[in-house]
Amino acid sequence: MSDKDIALMAHLMRRAGFGATRDELEAKVEQGYEAVVEELLNPQNPNNLPDDIIRRYHVEQSELRQLDGAAAYWMYRMITTECPLEEKLALFWHGLFATGYSKLNQARVLLNQVDMFRRHGLGKFNNILLELSRDPAMIIWLDNQDNHNGAINENFGRELLELFSMGIGNYTEYDIKECARAFTGWTLGNVEYMNVRALKDSIWPYSRIAWHFDFRENDNDTGEKSFLGETGNFTGEDIIDIIAKQDATARFVSTRLFQYFAADEVDDEGEAVIKDMMDSYFESGYEIKAVLGTLFNSEYFKSESARFARIKGPAETIVSAIRLAGTYREPTLGVNTVAHHAMFMGQTLLSPPSVEGWHEGTEWIDSGALVERVNFVAKELSDPTKPGIRKIIDRIAIQGGILSPDDLVDQCLDLIGPIEVGDEARDALVEFATMGGDVDTDSLEEGGDDVQRVGDILRLIASTREFQLA
């Protein structure tokens, strides 16, 4: 098994999941790259703790109507899932179809939406849009309950085209109105009452009743519509099918997936990959699984230039550090605190700042957020009592003999990633390691004298600029 294979697999797992430990990476390299891609794209059993056990052991994740409990619950799924792409992709759709607690006062319906992303997120894009159009949280978020036959509310129709499928410049204001007409009557059961409840935000006495989709035929505009150059008595389903077959939609979806899974910035080579992804989109009948398969198996994605070309998002930063440290695997209270850290870093799960979602890339970083990122990860990865960190130390110890400070730094860089750092960082790390002199691997046993030295070096690596990237 070559170092190159390990590095490539680590790259895949950072992008299609939340990173992996060295044990996991070695097993996956044995499996082979294409086979691992297949496995990621066909999630079977996430093996998460069943809800009844969560209710029993995790009181902090049990009040799912409220934001705190719901965010913790989702964070825990990300930490423990054995189908990481399923959660990573749900996080992607959550950012793209950004629906927020602020207007709903009801987090349960947001978790239902996330669950819909799990069920349909790798499927056909037209189907995802259809589910989204029937999603109760989305309906209230974009006011579709106020979209009536003869008195349209354009909010959902507009964002469906602008933010969720084609992007601005590919349709007219007239198309928006016609689109909105088709979705009149797509509402909630008992909507007037639910609307009042959402506005009141009172937990007294019966608030936050889960919502369900209701199609009110008598409020649906069945008249003739002209939409994107076609004319007919289009239903909402028809409108979505017309959207799905547009080049602009294929480009939009492929580009957004590329930026989330491959690189924040699209260069010329990236453009070529996006072209291939668009082809897969059409050939597969709009299947996201096929589009992602094309990306992950592309030479571009596998090349070294695609590595560390994205800034990690806050949830990603937290979940990958925790998975590497091997904590929270057994029922442990405090996942809600972990979710708060994502908020400190600028990403309150289930409460995106607006329907545009979070601005990603360098916009994740400001001085306050960077301090929070570094502090959380440094603390998590510098503690030798955590099982994942102990495993890293064991791997260093097992080699036996004496390690120079240089060797020690290289070992740590390898086992925490592998990750390559620039000269400034490497010099600073070696200088730091040199203060403690050579390391006798015998002193790395549990309770040994040099154990914390490894923890300290991991702390500094976790604090580098390079570690902010995935």
């Binding site: 934001l67 927020g100 607690y101 602020s102 207007k103 006062n105 959402a198 506005l199 009141k200 935000d201 009172s202 937990i203 007294w204 924040d264 800034i311 708060h340 908020m343 400190f344 600028g346 409460s351 700042p353 607006s354 329907v355 545009e356 601005h359 360098t362 916009e363 970083i365 400001d366 001085s367 306050g368 957020a369 960077l370 301090v371 929070e372 570094v374 502090n375 440094a378 603390k379 750092v421 620039g422 000269d423 400034e424 960082a425 010099d427 600073a428 790390l429 200088e431 730091f432 203060m435 300290d456 702390r459 500094l460 604090s463 580098t464 600029r465 902010q468 990237l469």
Partner: protein, 379 residues
């Protein structure tokens, strides 16, 4: 009016009361029978309150703030709110933070203000938040804002107990984020941001050491926060906007005990902070603004009160013309709004007062419109 080494620059200290402060039990209409009709259990008896007029009185726990009122240093803004009130904490707070009642706003009003005060982001401490996580009021892309959980340990690696070890780790961090720029835009940006964070933390951590005062603050979170504000202010680091949050005002149940304790802490902390300002001769260049996202339901629920609308806000400062602004909303059933107090003065008028009359930055671009300031600031 230069005083106390602050170079005469005007400061703003914002205290956000999170959860929806119950106006009716803060500024109490103690002679209004309707108050007692609606508040069967969650009410104060007339003999227990601190009257400020024949109609209104402060909560019994607001003694320290009553003193500022009596000295004419406090403006009470009644009936503050915005059109079509939203009873959601999150949405309502967003509206206060972005000054955008209709659309979902993207930029915080104080982040925009910081950008006007320091357009080239030369001082990483122009705005400082005392708490974890950035309130949306301060969030604007490219505007550095320090968020300080605890001033004593603020910065990188607060978990490192050993001072020597922490110093070594910080030195290493400085080297890792330093070095030549111009290699790669993202790495440069990260390097610059990390160096800014380190610089801000280094400067901020000096503040407690420079501070001396005869004021003894109480030991509770809001007193700690205001003491930290004082420490940073008196260290003259060029900070203009100080922000802190006092949480727990969502008093659906057990309100009489909880709400009283909150105001005991808050009023005491504001009083101590004021004494500290006076001791350091900074009262004339400081304005304290206290607000909450909404008021609460007129009728109580037997134990507490539910979300309502129409609240009250306070401005405190040496240049404040003390007194009442805006009309106290009527409790008459036909004048209520769905069982809540009807707002009668837009919160953006208060923002315009702060921006135009105090910080002297044009309010229109910041709050997206022209609003008439209250005549609260002495000219």
């Amino acid at each position: 009016m230069a005083s106390g080494n602050g170079n005469g620059k005007k400061n703003l200290v914002v205290i956000q009361l999170t959860g929806g402060n119950d106006t009716l039990n803060t500024v109490i209409p103690y002679n209004d029978g309707l108050y007692y009709d609606n508040r069967r259990t969650v009410a104060y008896k007339p003999e227990s309150v601190l009257p400020i007029s024949d109609e209104l009185a402060f909560n019994p726990k607001m003694g320290s703030m009553k003193r500022l009122w009596d000295d004419g240093k406090m403006a009470l803004i009644n009936g503050i709110g915005y059109p079509s009130p939203n009873r959601s904490h999150f949405r309502s707070m967003d509206i206060w933070h972005t000054a955008e009642p209709d659309d979902i706003g993207k930029e915080g009003w104080l982040g925009r203000t910081a950008r006007v005060l320091d357009p080239n982001a030369e001082n990483v401490l122009t705005a400082v938040n005392f708490g974890r996580g950035l309130p949306r009021a301060l969030g604007v892309k490219g505007v550095p804002v320090a968020s300080v959980g605890n001033l004593e340990t603020y910065g990188l690696f607060p978990d490192l107990q050993d001072d020597m070890m922490r110093k070594i780790a910080l030195d290493a961090f400085a080297k890792m984020y330093g070095g030549a720029r111009g290699q790669d835009a993202v790495m440069d940006f990260l390097g610059q941001t990390g160096s800014d964070a380190l610089k801000g933390a280094d400067i901020l951590r000096t503040a407690p050491g420079l501070y001396s005062s005869n004021v003894e603050y109480a030991a509770n979170p809001i007193a700690d926060s205001l003491k930290s504000v004082a420490q940073v202010m008196f260290a003259n680091l060029g900070t203009r906007i100080y922000y802190t949050i006092h949480g727990g005002y969502d008093t659906h149940s057990g309100e009489m005990a909880t709400h009283a304790q909150l105001w005991d802490h808050l009023s005491g902390a504001v009083g101590d902070f004021w004494d500290d300002l006076v001791e350091h001769d900074r009262q004339d260049d400081t304005l304290i603004f206290i607000f909450s996202e909404f008021g609460r339901r007129i009728k109580d629920n037997g134990s507490g009160t539910d979300h309502g609308s129409g609240g009250s806000a306070f401005l405190v400062g040496g240049q404040v013309i003390g007194g009442m602004y805006g009309e106290y909303p009527s409790l008459e059933p036909e004048k209520q709004l769905e069982g809540d107090l009807q707002f009668n003065n837009d919160f953006r008028r208060t923002y315009a007062t702060i921006l135009d009359r105090w910080l002297h930055v044009g309010s229109e671009d910041i709050i997206n419109g022209s609003f008439e300031p209250h005549e609260i600031i002495a000219r």
